[in-house]
């Protein structure tokens, strides 16, 4: 199978399908063969749905023959294994659910299915979207295609790894403290965390109700725009779902960034970052300036208190897991069990104070976003972590650049902006005003078109 097919964009696949140069069944068979060859090492997939994929591909071929012009028709995707899939095992990356087969689809799963995608299978997630699986776990973690000794990021680990290795064209992720953007950053792909309430959480296993977001990962910004389109829009099954109007995200990509005001909140986001990351970030700002953006520094002082978000996440996660933790503690992974139990130790007063800090961060960020159109920062302070470090129980939760936008719920994009000397991807994070996904995607697309980072492939 050629890389041209494995790494084809949604636009390229659609054009070739419609010129009858390629069929969804051919692409699906080729990707299934590639998964069979590469995934024993990468471990991105928990469950492969080959029969379902071929049935979806045949249905897409029939639709193409009828002149169906839906852009996602015949596009091969896979879902993070916390998205419920009717009749297909959904493990949550946990031994607790290792054999659970739901009888309903998550809203996002159903919407991609209705858009004509081909479902290749389910992708490994950190256990319950929270804790990396330690050695000996029933469901081992995915590996980073750029360097197998490094984590692919998490918790949407399989999604990032599968995209980087050319095993899928699109994937879902979820993001409570960076779980879409982290794997995108560490794997050199693109991830979009939409605005809180933009993409439904219904049918997706909960980590933290007030911080959880759903969204897509892909290899280009345009692919992300195509993939988020059907996910956006009100879902009565999700109480946080918004009725805000949905933009045409692909149509909005072409506007460029001339005159766009880009704010750089250096406090917090650049504190203690790796020099290679800083150089790549400054170069990305220079590229945006060269494209006509007005780049200037801004300050969001309350971001210094970002780590308080963990109190919210821990308390809410414990509220969700308490019954199972008490009944079946042995079915939770080592270390994750104790991290979840830490949520039982957060007092009510501390949870409220953390929410008050959150309100301050939201207010200050909104104020700054009245003076600039997007905020730019490095997605992660350093490149992908080695497994040897991630598997140290004391590794914990280092300061991260991603939780501020779970706190604010702002639409936030992660996209490649360079490589470290060791060949690991580096990433640029762009965040905008609520429901202005189109602006964030437009800025990311302009940057991507001016650079070639997204065209590099890992040595798989």
């Amino acid at each position: 199978m050629s890389d041209a097919i494995a790494y084809a964009t949604i636009r390229e696949l659609g054009a070739r399908y419609r010129r009858r140069e390629l069929s969804p069944v051919e692409v699906t068979r080729a990707l299934l063969a590639r998964i069979e060859k590469l995934d024993p090492v990468l471990r991105a997939f928990v469950t492969l749905t080959a029969d379902r994929a071929l049935a979806d591909a045949r249905a897409a071929e029939d639709a193409l023959r009828r002149g169906d012009d839906r852009p996602l028709l015949g596009i091969p995707v896979a879902h993070k294994d916390i998205y419920l899939t009717r009749g297909i095992r959904t493990t949550g990356g946990s031994a607790l659910l290792a054999d659970w087969v739901p009888d309903e689809d998550a809203t996002c799963v159903r919407r991609w299915q209705e858009a004509g995608t081909v479902l290749l299978g389910k992708l490994i997630t950190h256990e319950f979207a929270f804790g990396i699986q330690f050695p000996g776990h029933r469901l081992p973690p995915a590996r980073n295609p750029w360097n197998l000794d490094h984590i692919p990021g998490g918790s949407s680990s399989g999604s990032g790894a599968a995209l980087a290795a050319g095993l899928v064209t699109g994937a879902t992720g979820s993001d409570t403290g960076g779980s879409i953007r982290g794997p995108a950053a560490f794997c050199g792909v693109v991830g979009l965390k939409p605005t809180y309430g933009r993409s439904s959480r219904s049918g997706v296993l909960t980590l933290s109700w007030t911080l959880d977001h759903t969204g897509p990962l892909a290899r280009t910004v345009e692919d992300c725009a195509y993939l988020v389109q059907p996910l956006a829009g009100h879902d009565p099954a999700d109480p946080a779902s918004s009725r805000a109007p949905v933009d045409d995200y692909v149509a909005a990509l072409g506007g460029g960034v001339r005159g766009l005001r880009v704010g750089v909140p250096r406090n917090y986001f650049l504190d203690g970052i790796d020099p290679e990351v800083e150089r790549a970030f400054e170069a990305a700002l220079e590229t945006l300036r060269g494209l006509g953006a007005e780049v200037r520094d801004v300050r969001i002082p309350s971001l210094a208190c970002t780590h308080a978000f963990l109190l919210i996440m821990l308390a809410e996660a414990y509220a969700y897991h308490e019954g199972d933790l008490r009944a079946h503690p042995e079915l939770y992974g080592d270390v994750l069990r104790e991290r979840l139990q830490a949520g039982a130790l957060v007092t009510g007063a501390e949870y409220v104070q953390a929410q008050r800090i959150r309100a301050e961060i939201c207010a200050e960020t909104a104020e700054v976003l009245r003076t600039v159109d997007v905020l730019a920062s490095p997605t992660t302070p350093r490149p992908a972590t080695p497994f040897a470090l991630a598997h140290d129980p004391e590794f914990g939760f280092p300061r991260s650049n991603m939780p501020p936008f779970n706190i604010t719920g702002s639409p936030t994009l992660a996209l490649p902006c360079g490589f470290s000397a060791a060949g690991l991807p580096l990433s640029l994070q762009l965040s905008g005003r609520p429901f202005e996904e189109a602006t964030v995607l437009r800025a990311g697309h302009a940057y991507e078109q001016a650079t070639a980072w997204h065209t590099r492939r890992p040595p798989v």
Partner: protein, 66 residues
């Protein structure tokens, strides 16, 4: 000198007892660090100067379900 905002091991044990849970002895250090890091900003602030989180409920016609 230790940080006055840091969660001590003694306080952690008290919280574990109050919560009625059991955490393995060899994981206490990890849990203490996790909670301590998360708590530091809350403990360092004067709660009387912090922003409120009201209103807890809003009444807007567009929030009604279909």
């Amino acid at each position: 000198m230790s940080d006055p905002h840091e969660l001590t091991m003694e306080e952690l044990r008290e919280r574990i007892a109050a919560a009625g849970i059991r955490i393995a002895e060899h994981r206490l250090g990890m849990v203490r660090k996790l909670l301590s890091d998360a708590l530091v900003h809350v403990r360092a602030r004067d709660s009387r100067t912090m922003k409120t989180v009201e209103p807890a409920v809003r009444f807007a016609p567009e929030t009604r379900d279909e």
